[in-house]
Structure formats: C-alpha cells, structure tokens
Symmetry: C2
C-alpha cells in the first residue's frame, strides 16, 4: 500500500478515477471513428472504449494517483472487451498510475491462487514465468473466509501488490447479510476483524497494511466505526456523488493523518463532459477538472472535520 | 433449470465435469504439439489447454449433462487464457452440454448487470444486440445482497439461464462468516432464505427454480438442513473426492425425486489418466470412464439412502 500512499501524497488528491465505460458514455466522434475503422460491431465498440479510456488516462494521470478499472464493464463486451481491459490496465500502468482492478474475485485454495496469479502475480508457463497483468491491486470478496484470501495476501507480499476486501458495500441492500447481528456484532464488523488479522503482518512504512477494505461512503456511521476499528487499513470508498454520499460523508473514512482512504468516482468523472457547457471534444479535460475539484472538496472536508 | 434437469435425466448422470485446467494437467504430447506450433509461451500454453479441453469435451459429452468451466484457471494465463475460456464455453455449448461458468461474479446494480450481460445475456452494441457467451449458467456470490443478484435473475428469465448462488462452500474456512449465528440462525441459512425468495417466482416445470445454490458436500449435515429448507432449489455440489466428501455425503443434497443436485468433479476427471495403468493418449477416455463411474456411485448412494 506504500506505493499508493506515495502517489496520493504526490498528487495531493485522494481520488481514484473509475474506468467503468459503457459505449453510451463514449463521445460520438470517438465512436464514429472506431466504427469506420473496425465496423459497427463488438470490436468497434470495444476499440471505441479503449480510445476513450486512453484519452481519459492521458488527462487523469496528471491529477489522480490511481484508476479503478471495473472488470464487469469489459466482460460485458465479450472477448474484445476483455482484450481492452488488459490493454487499459497496461496503459494506465505505463502512465504510472496505481491500477486497481475492481474484479471482486473470490474462490478457494488453488482456485483463489489462480485468480491471484492471473491478476497480481505471474503464471507458471510450464517452467517459465509469464508476464504480469498491470494491476497493482485487486478487489476481493470475503464470503468464503481465509482460504479464499490468503493466496492473494501471499502474492501481495511476493509481488508488492495490495487487495481491497469488501467489508461494507455502498448499495441499498448491502445490509441483507452484512448488517446481520451475531452476538451483538454485525457481520461487516466480523469481516473487518478478519481484514485486520489478514493484514496484521504486512504493514508498510506509512503504517498501512497491504490488505485494504471496501467501505461505502453511503454508510458514514458504519464508516466511522470501521475507521476506528481498522487504524492500519486503507479504505477504498465507493458511493460518492451519484450514489448520494457527500464530501463530509467520505471524510469519515479518513484518519487524523489525512490518509487512510481513497474515494472512487466513475461516471461523474468519465461523463463530466456531458454536463452543460462542456464539449465532447474536451471530455478528457472535463474529466480531469472534475477529479481535481473532487479531490479538493474531499480534502477540505477532511481538514474541516479535524 | 429445466434444461439442465432434462440433460441429467437423459444421461442418468448427476455429474458436472469441471474444466479447471492447469498446464501440468495436460498430457505431454499435447503440450509438445502446441509448443511446436505456437512456441513455448503463454499462447502455446493456452492452446495446449484448449486442445486438452476439446478432447475432454468430445468424450465427456457422451456421459455427462454439464461442464463447469472455472474462470480463474483461464484468467491465470492472461488474455490468451481468457480467449481459451470463451472458446471452451462455445465448444461445450456446440456439443450440447449445459455450460456452467464458475466465475463467482458479484457487484451491485448496473455493474452486476454488466456481468450478467457479459456472461448470460447480450450486450447493447450501440443499438444492436451482441452475441451470447455460450454459458447457460453462472455462479454468483451473495455478500452484497439483492442489488447484486436481481440483475442476474432478470436475465435468467429473459434468456432462459440459471445462476448458482454461494450458500455454504466446501472449504475448511467457509464457516468464518457463513457459520456465524444471528438469532440462533447461521448466516448460510440466512443466505439460503434469500436464495429461496430470489427464486420463488421462477420455478420451472420440473419443480426447480432458476436460482440454484452452491452447497459443499464436505458439510453433509448442513447440506441435509439446506435440502429440507430449499425443496425447489437445485444444488451445485463441490467437494466430492479430492476434498474428502463421499457418495453418501453428496446423497444428502438430493431430493426424494432423485433430482435436486449435480455434483462436480474437476481434477479427478481431468487427470484420471494419471492413475496407474492409464496412458496419456487415452486421457479423454479415462476422464469419461471416471465421470461415468462417479455418476453410478452417486446414483447408487442416492437410491440406497431412500
């Protein structure tokens, strides 16, 4: 997690820009150009998204420390989409961004190891080591317990990577399982205790473990509770903006050192150009401005809250 | 789920063959042939796995109703691996197998919809509908609650597909969260109640819902409890063989109608040829024999248990 923290300090911007593209987010001129070259088919759509991403990354890398690439939006477009996922990870890495793959992967034992190898490590190609994917970090789901998490943690140590474990998610129904009480303690706190234990022996020089937590900004009371419980855990915070959380809400996820959280924004950044008065040609600049101002608003709320 | 049940009845074999290939499972002669053609690199490795899978599918389609393709083992080999995943899904579909993608996908709202579109549905290619992936079914993780499941259920109805929701997994640490008690009820039962509700309005002509459950055979007491609680839910049952569960254990997951469960075996089927006396050239026949005898052993236990 040290590498992420250093990038956050360098940019003074605790924002991760989400690259969760749907074809209708892509400006018309990029789409038409791609369809001319590749046809109006799944390849044309995927390539339009890649061109869109590339423009976003070129602009965003000047203001944000990290991008979060949401696997679902690429898998939606089949193999051409997944190919663009790999190229997006590699391009963001090339631009020196901290690259979080939001895949929420989960399985057990050797299968969890296979996911970890694929995204964080290097595969054994019948005796030779393969290449890495470009991801610095992966989101994972804890429902299967330690067997499903330990392979990822081992690779975090081996390859200097991180994971973010779902603890309390931002969606309205997150409480159906996560808020159930067990001996007076909600499940998300039990998950948090596991996260604490999983990360305890891999705390970096800035005081944070390689095992982070996903904590939705839409539940500020729970976020504050988790912040106290997990002083050495970095939070990946979804829910800002479109889902309703404010800068004051996300401020609950920060520690007194001004660190401890990175806040995601996807659609508001990607589609900033669609707001009145912005042109599609300036979509990358609009995204950059949006991310920059979001960072400033959050930092102000974090400082104001102390 | 009707289509799966009809295939199980037609084959009289409640076994799903897992295609979770690592390169060291692939017989030497297939590897060498692939390396000669593609080089000993990630493409050569992925193509060797595809050739292995193809041989397995050609043989297995004569005895089993379904295959379960584990996404992790393909993602392990990067983009060439994922390309082989898509081709494996398509080839198994072509051979008229019921194709379960074991991806344990999970996310919320529009993002869950993107996963569902990618694997079960058809993407909107800027106004035109894309192709389907070949998967008939997808495993999903319930930690995020209904927001993360409903998009998949809607697509099950729309595209005649199914999902299997993780309820009680087969691994040693599955109890860390799944067995926690809430008002005297373990979390896996709470999940089961959600599964029941999610599937209630989509029960097919054979009496089973399109929303199935993953129930590990390594916990036969819990399996029996869940069987009683979920009479209209099909179980996908891992844990047989290598993980220690016996035919008598998996029999607990069946209903009195002899239906209600399909039991997975991956490595024991794929690597059956490695047992003494089998040649690598006959790997597909060995896999077929193994799956066939496993089916017979399970059916005998199911009948004996009544």
């Amino acid at each position: 997690m040290d590498r992420l923290i250093e990038k956050i300090k360098a940019t003074d911007c605790p924002v991760v820009a989400g690259l969760d593209p749907k074809i209708d987010y892509v400006p018309e001129h990029i789409r038409q150009e791609s369809y001319k070259q590749y046809g109006k088919n799944i390849t044309g759509v995927a390539e339009a998204i890649y061109a869109f991403n590339k423009g976003l990354i070129d602009a965003l890398c000047e203001v944000v420390p990290a991008v979060k690439v949401q696997a679902a939006y690429y898998e939606m477009y089949g193999l051409p989409g997944v190919e663009v996922l790999y190229r997006t990870l590699a391009y963001a890495k090339e631009k020196d961004l901290y690259v979080i793959l939001d895949g929420k992967r989960n399985d057990i034992g050797a299968t969890a190891q296979a996911y970890s190898t694929g995204w964080l490590g290097t595969a054994d190609l019948d005796g030779e080591a393969g290449a890495q994917s470009g991801a610095d970090s992966l989101t994972v789901n804890p429902y299967l317990g330690s067997d499903g998490i330990v392979p990822f943690i081992n690779d975090c140590k081996k390859y200097d990577k991180s994971i973010f474990v779902l603890v309390k998610t931002s969606n309205p129904s997150s409480g159906e399982l996560q808020d159930l009480q067990t001996d007076g303690t909600p499940i998300y706190v039990k998950t948090a205790e596991l996260v604490k234990a999983w990360g305890a022996d891999n705390i970096g020089k800035h005081g944070y473990s390689s095992v982070g937590a996903v904590v939705g900004a839409t539940y500020p009371v729970q976020a504050q509770q988790l912040r106290t419980l997990l002083p050495h855990t970095y939070f990946l915070v979804p829910g800002y903006g479109a889902q309703g959380a404010t800068a004051a809400d996300v401020a609950k996820s920060f520690n007194a050192d001004g660190l401890g959280a990175i806040v995601n924004s996807s659609r508001a950044v990607m589609c900033a150009y669609q707001k009145s008065g912005k042109s599609a040609g300036g979509y990358a600049q609009a995204a950059k401005d949006e991310a920059y101002h979001m960072g400033k608003a959050i930092l102000a709320a974090v400082k104001g809250g102390r």
